[in-house]
Structures are given as C-alpha cells and as structure tokens.
Symmetry: C2
Subunit: 388 residues, 2 copies
C-alpha cells in the first residue's frame, strides 16, 4: 500500500444554519478543501461522503451522486460513494478514501462529511439519531442515546472509576477550547457549576453533558504522499487508519465501562503507525456525551483506567497538560452535525499538524489522533496523522 | 493491486418476506456465503453492506454494526461499513469490498446487500424509493422514478430508437428467465400481450414494465486470488470493477436516451479487464424499468444504439442468442430489494462462471458482467467476473 497525505481541508461554520440547505453546506466544505489543495476540481478521481441520515433529515438519499453533481463533478463522472455508520459516518468515509488512494486505484480523492439536522422538529431529530442504536431491542423500547450513556456514566461512578464532577469537567474543557474556534457552534467558556446545575437529560447527565443538534460539513483532499508536494507546501501524512465493531446493543456487552471497538481500533492504528499512545500530542475524541470522552481517553491509552476524569479535571487534557484533547471544542462545543463530525476531527488534526491552528495550536505536535464512534461505541475509527 | 476472487455466495428467496425481519434476511444471506466459502466466520477481516434505506423502511441506521453483530462477528471486532447509493448500493458495496482486498489491507471480506421494503405501506415505500432522485428538483415536485423513466421511454420512442413492443419484450424475456430461478419473486412466464395490456403506471410504462417492491438479501465472500484455492475448488476471478456518476436530476442531462455513467464505468471496466463487450457471454443489468435495460444494453456496448429493442424481441438476449441478459430474471422477475440487487447480480454471475446455474446455465461463458445503477442512471457500477 502507498503512503497517503492530506493536501486540502475545508469546513463550514457549525451551528443552526437555517439559511443553507444540506447540499449548500456539503458543497461549501468540499470547494474550500479543493481550493486549499490548489486544485481546480477536474483532477479529482473519486469522492467519499459521510452522512448519517439525509434520507430522514431532508428526504434525500443518494448523497454521493448529489454532492458530485452539485460540486460540478458530474461532467467528469467521478465515482462518488456515501458511507453511513451513525456517528462514525465521517471517520469511516475518511478511512475508505484513504484506502482508495493507498490501494493505488485513485490518486486525488475528496472525503466529505455533512449533516443538516435542524430542518426537522426536535422529536424527529432525536428519533433519527436514536435509530443508530439497536432499533429492535433499544430505541423501539424507549432507550435513547442519552439514557444509554447515562447508564454507562452511572456504572462508571458506581465502580469508582470517575466522579460526577470529573465527568462534568469534560464539558468545561471542551467549551474552553470551543471559545477559541471561530467555526464552533458554542464559543462561550463555562464553569463546572453551569454543567452540574443544567437541566437533567438522563440522570446523571444534564444538558451540558450532551453534544448539540447541528448543521455543518467538513472535507479533506487526499493524494499519494510522494505527489503531495506537487500540490501544496504543507502536506500532512496519514500514519494509519483503523476500524472496529462491537455489539450494536449496549446490553450485549460484558463491560459497559469501556468501548472495546475503540480499544481494538486504537491498537491497530498505533501498530500500523509504529508508535504508542505516548507519542500523541493532540487528539480529537468522540464526546457525543461527556462520559464518552472519559471512556475514549482510557480506551485510547492516554490515561489509565479510572484516571481520565482526574486528568481532565486537573488540566492534563488541555494546553500545557499531558495531551490536548478536543482542541476544536469537540462534539460538545464545536457542534455535532453527525456525518460531518469524523471529517471535522481530521480537519482539526490537520491544522494542528500543519501548525496553523492559531490560538488552539499545540506546540511541537508530531502526531495527532482522531477517534470517531457510531452508536454506543458500536463502531470506531481511529486515524493517526503525522507532521512532516 | 492484488487480483481478487469470489469464494462464496449466498442469497435468500426474494419476495414479500413477511415472516423475516431486516436482520434475518441479511444474516441468512451472509451465513450462506460464509458456509459456501468453507469458512467458520472467524476468518472474516471486514464486512461491507449495501443498503438503501433501512433508516426509513425499518427505522434502523448503522447497518454495518448491526449485521456484524447479529452475524456473530462483534466478538472479533470486524470493521463493518455500510454503503448507500440508491439502487446502486449493492454494487458499490461490492466494489468497496473488492478494493479492500485488492489494496492488501484485508484478506477475507464479506460483501452483503439487503433491503426489507414491505414493512411500510405502498405510499411510503414509493416515497422512500423516490428519495434517491433529486429531492429538491424532482421528487418534491412530484416526479417519481416511474415518470422519469417514462419520459426516457417516450423520448427513445420519439427518436425512433425503440418501439413500445420492443420495450415490453424486456419484461417477457426476464420473466421467462425468472421462471427458471427458484429464488425469484415472480416465477411465471408472461406474454407480450400481458405487458402491453397491464395497467398504466406512467405512460407508456405499465405495471409489467416496473420492478416490484421486494425483500431479500445476497452476499459474497472475497479473498486474494492466490489464496482462493486454499478455501474452495471453484473460485471466480474479479476481472474488474468500475464506478461513475452523472447528474442526479434527469433534466440536467444533454441526452436522456443514454446513461452516461454506465457507458463510462463500462469502458473503464473493459479496459481494466483487458476485454471488449464482445467477450461477455452473460450479463445482469439494472432493469428497474424495462426501458433501463434497453439503455443498458446499448451503453454497455452489447448492441448498437437503436438496436437493443430489436435484439431482445428477436431472441438475441436470451439462451441461444448473442448474449444472455438477466438470466436470474433481473430486477423485474427475480425482484428488487434495493440494497441487495447489486450483490444478487454478482451472485448470479458467479454461478454462471462456476457453471452451477442449473437450468439457467449459459454454455462456455468465460466472462460475465454486472451493471447496477442508482437514481435515474445517476451512479453506475460495472463489474466483470472471469471463469478460471
């Protein structure tokens, strides 16, 4: 397999984008990425799109052809493929794009992720999101993702792995980072008290423990590493990308205080990249709920089991600490347009590897990691980028 | 890239499977394919699933994780990826699986396609299917796939490229083949008169010009060609697989009497396989409507423009003719569970290459082709299999 580089990135503002349609946001991100790679668009060999449910959010399936067409690529008949894996749709699309270049089949590949969630009412949007859980045994019985994650949080607290305050500190950390990100949905730093006093969604998780409903899109351009400098001065190497599954339903797991799919994908990704967790300076992790970030930090090997909460609370997951987690603001503060999230993580890590993250820049970062999950940790994609 | 072989196939009966759930049909096909490849299941490195809209048909997203889990593969954390491209979902999943093995990233890959369409009412199922057209400019304005294909048929007839009787003969041909297929939804031969007298759906197309609403699933197992004989005696080589896009909306095309995406994908596939259309002895083509088959036969190069209708009518697309088209019965008679269709085509061509198609066997077939489209020819995947 060939080495692959990222040569272009693009992202829209995340938030409630009522003035833009699904296709508008998808195309904005894609064109920004193509421009960033100094391409005209006609060089693109293939397109991958991560999207969870345009079929239910905006009544549109066949998203690959849609985005290819409205990006002006129909005339060059570019193969366009949509990937869906709930919250991991974007990360999985990225991995497919990576494989398409690594295999030698395609040279220039655009990977986009997009979701437009605010065109339906709140009840519908929650029902759509929850359809990534096991419909037959979870969501149709009334279990929501919030309640499933609340059970995880409750179990972790019961087992002495984390405290309520430590869980809440994840939100404080990510909001502090989001305040530095001009594209973030929420740009206001908050206090622990705000999180702890917020309305309960599913005990013990409150409103500030849950990522929002968002619109937005992100895109990256990939090419073989040995051709990357033909296009840009600042390519970033994809050191690895790995994917794993777990049971769809939470109750089928032996242990709900860890996401096994993340641990397995991370181990594969570290091995493929020839590094360990200690080499990672900055990571975007999947904090759809604050408790998910706690699990991620342990499953990725950044902190030992039972120590992630303390680390976040003590400033070890922010600037100046052991590792910077969710410099973008994460799903909680940057926003979580589902299909876009995994690609937005790659955009942020690429900025970090390029050294162009501005106020969010992590010093001397050689390796960065993105972890994107779908369902209740039922699918995970872990990708590692390398500054070159 | 490595050469890739098909070492296992599995398919369910197609039809109105009210006794089975979505996951039931998906798993039945997958386990049949794994058994057919003489595997236990633990050897599987990755899973790809083609599915159009379980999200709307049965309220379930995250199909990759679902099928991995209920196939018993969650414990081995197999990466599972769902592909959606309207009617081309299955063919596109097959191409991704092919790439995953060809790249060297995975060895044993299962590709499945599944759809359960009969659990919703007729109005809903049509609305879901039509959401693969351009929602903003076609389906939300009242255009259905039947009416879009009727416009194509009317234009072809106006231009003297085909007659109504020739279009109808596609249905006669495919029903005759479906009568020989134990898994087909419709196993009754029909006459031209039956097609011509059937109730009008969208003039000139009648009920017998339209593929049915169906439930069903199909799966194949892939591995590197040089390891194939370790598992089975009868591997089939994947000579090529190519994909192309066109505009999503029909009215954006210069010419609606041809599907450009099919022509482009076919040319790539022939080049990659080092053969021409004349080398193909048997082909499964995407006859979601009878007129689509007429276009396919010309765009794939089997017959000259304006001659496909005559060829079907004169027996040149059936046993004893120039080429056997849709030996399975095609979408019209075998049935069209959308996400399953592209993989079911590969199952049929694999049977033909193995020489195990029974009453439907085409003699001395060295090469077979599958053409799967999404939308109104907005995406096309063309794959060529080779008997070895």
């Amino acid at each position: 397999m060939r080495d692959v580089a990222i040569i272009g990135i693009g992202i829209t503002k995340f938030g409630e984008l009522w003035g833009a349609s699904f296709r508008d946001v998808g195309i904005e991100a894609g064109l920004k990425a193509v421009n960033d790679a100094n391409l005209s668009g006609s060089e693109v060999d293939a397109l991958y799109v991560g999207n969870m449910s345009a079929g239910r959010f905006v009544g549109q399936h066949h998203i690959g052809a849609l985005i290819a067409d409205y990006s002006g690529m129909a005339s060059s008949n570019v193969p366009a493929t949509r990937i869906e894996a709930g919250g991991a749709s974007g990360g999985m699309a990225f991995r497919q794009g990576y494989m398409a270049v690594a295999s030698g089949l395609h040279d220039i590949v655009v990977v986009g992720g997009a979701e437009k969630m605010t065109d339906v009412d709140d009840e519908s949007s929650n029902s759509i999101v929850d359809s990534s859980a096991d419909h037959q045994w979870e969501s149709s019985m009334g279990a929501t993702f919030a309640s499933l994650h609340a059970m995880i949080a409750r179990r972790c607290m019961h087992d002495g792995l984390v405290t309520r305050e430590e869980i809440a500190s994840v939100s404080v950390n990510n909001h502090a980072h989001g305040a530095l990100n001009p594209n973030a949905q929420f740009r206001k730093a908050i206090t622990l008290d705000t999180v702890l006093r917020s309305g309960i969604v599913a005990d013990p998780l409150g409103m500030f423990d849950c990522a929002p409903i968002s619109d937005g899109a992100a895109a990256v351009v990939l090419c073989p590493l040995d051709k990357a400098k033909d296009y840009v001065e600042n390519p970033v190497k994809i050191a690895s990308s790995a994917q794993a599954s777990d049971t769809l339903a939470l109750f089928h797991r032996d242990d709900i205080t860890t996401f096994n799919a993340t641990a397995v994908a991370a181990q594969k990704a570290y091995t493929m990249a020839g590094i360990t967790a200690n080499d990672i300076a900055v990571a975007e992790v999947h904090d759809s709920y604050t408790i998910s970030e706690i699990l991620a930090l342990q499953d990725l090997g950044f902190f030992k089991r039972g120590e992630a909460g303390k680390a976040v609370m003590n400033g070890d997951a922010t600037f100046g600490g052991k590792i910077v987690i969710n410099s973008s603001g994460g799903l909680k503060a940057r926003g979580h347009p589902i299909g876009a999230t995994g690609v937005a993580q790659i955009v942020e890590i690429t900025e970090q590897m390029r050294g162009t993250a501005g106020k969010r820049q992590v010093e001397n970062a050689k390796y960065g990691l993105a972890q994107n999950t779908g369902g209740t940790g039922s699918a995970a994609v872990v990708s590692i980028l390398e500054a070159i």
